[in-house]
Amino acid sequence: MRAALTVARRELAGYFATPVATVFIVIFLVLAGALTFTLGNFFGRGQADLVPFFSFIPWLFLFLVPALTMRLWAEERRLGTIELLLTLPLPQWAAVLGKFLAAWAFCGIALALTFPLWITVNILGSPDNGVILSGYVGCLLVAGAYLALGAAVSALTRNQVIAFVLAVALCFLFAAAGSPVVTEFLDTRLPVLAEIARNLSVADRFGGFTRGVIAARDLIWFASFIGFFLFVNAVVLDHRKAD
């Protein structure tokens, strides 16, 4: 675990030593703000909550998180540092976990920097801050799920463009699985699959959090999702590290 945290610390410092951090955070904040105030109609709807903000987060992360994960292993391969990292005396899972934790902490920092929105609603009205907090927890879990998925994809290929496109596509699959378009279509033809699709949907799980419900079921779901893809990441890495 200590080795994993050492790797995470190095990774996180790496984000801030390169323009990656600035570009990611600025774009994230601009888009999150713009979507909330324009499409989300933050002022016009006359309610003191962050529902419009939270409703855009899974879709924003859908593009931004794969941009973060595409370089995760591909960059190590390009630089050759993967050979250095994996010949240091640390178990392979520690390297996988460390990289994931750093990216996750980074998303947490980006999310935390949206605090002006939270201050704004508290000045304008008296929102339920418990619901807002649970919404943020949900955002962080969605980021974690996409990160774990994207990192596993990144271990699969040394081409960053392929890693990005594949990760977006797969994240989209899990984001859209529970949407009415998909489930209604499946309901009429293959009801069994519709149920599975709803169960696999990241957006459905996230919905509970934005309403202020932190259910053990949903926490376990996210934990298993992240755990599963970290495991896939470790297995893929073991087979393809030298390619």
């Binding site: 050759g80 010949t87 640390l90």
Partner: protein, 248 residues
């Protein structure tokens, strides 16, 4: 039992083989290296030198055969094996955005050092490789020779009994080459060292033994002096042996 382990060779490679789709990069290679030996690993480009070293370092899983470092199998007990190993990968990869001191501290922390011991080891590794002058510079701003020495410092930081160095003097100027060879010679009595190179004078300068590998197979395993007796120069012997293999 302990005595038996101490006497055993620090590096043991048995029938190591690596097959890629369509060809065999390393074909049934066996050798062992004892404490005090400096093994020069020679061969034309693509002969399988780096692949052998990668398998020995536990980076690439062998298709067949075993490699052990201080008795620990690199596949079965990878973390134990790597603890006793200092490895300089091909091209001396490092994280470009980190400073020299930051990078060495990172590898030290992974190896479990903390506090003053970490600081001492980092400082010692930088002293050995003459990096003190650039300790706070980002690695990407350094010249090729400095980068190579950062990779070398990382391999020496924990004073490991086994050193595997893939082309340690590549890209260094003649003075720096001399320094690195001196360093290897000084460390040699307590360690088992494998260096790969295609600079033949290096073998005569630092190695106690040379293995020439061609098309994945060991063609010669002898002290450099014996090699030189077989031809007018090491270059001659090398060319004859490796070209002969390719023609065959």
């Amino acid at each position: 039992m302990m005595g038996g382990l101490a006497l055993a060779a620090l590096i043991e490679i048995e029938r190591l083989t690596k097959r890629f789709a369509g060809f065999t990069a390393v074909d049934d290679v066996s050798f062992s290296v004892e404490r005090g030996e400096v093994l020069g690993f020679l061969g034309p480009n693509g002969a399988g030198k780096s692949t052998t070293m990668r398998m020995l370092a536990g980076f690439m899983p062998p298709s067949a055969g075993t490699a052990r470092i201080c008795g620990a199998d690199v596949v079965e007990q990878p973390v134990e094996a790597k603890r006793n190993l200092g490895f300089l990968p091909e091209g001396a990869p490092t994280y470009p955005e980190m400073t020299v001191a930051g990078f060495l501290a990172f590898t030290g922390r992974i190896r479990g050092y903390r506090g003053s011991e970490l600081a001492d080891r980092t400082a010692h590794a930088m002293a050995l490789t003459q990096l003190e002058g650039v300790r706070l510079q980002p690695i990407e701003t350094l010249s090729k020779g400095f980068k190579r020495r950062v990779g070398l410092a990382q391999a020496l930081l924990h004073d490991p009994p086994v050193l595997v160095l893939d082309e340690p003097t590549d890209g260094l100027d003649p003075n720096q080459k001399h320094e690195v060879r001196e360093l290897i010679r000084r460390m040699a009595p307590e360690k088992a060292i494998v260096i790969s190179t295609h600079i033949l004078e290096e073998v005569g300068a630092v190695c106690t033994r040379a293995i020439i590998i061609a098309r994945g197979r060991v063609v010669v395993d002898a002290p450099p002096s014996v090699l030189e007796e077989r031809g007018s120069s090491l270059d001659d012997v090398f060319r004859r042996l490796t070209l002969g293999q390719e023609a065959a």
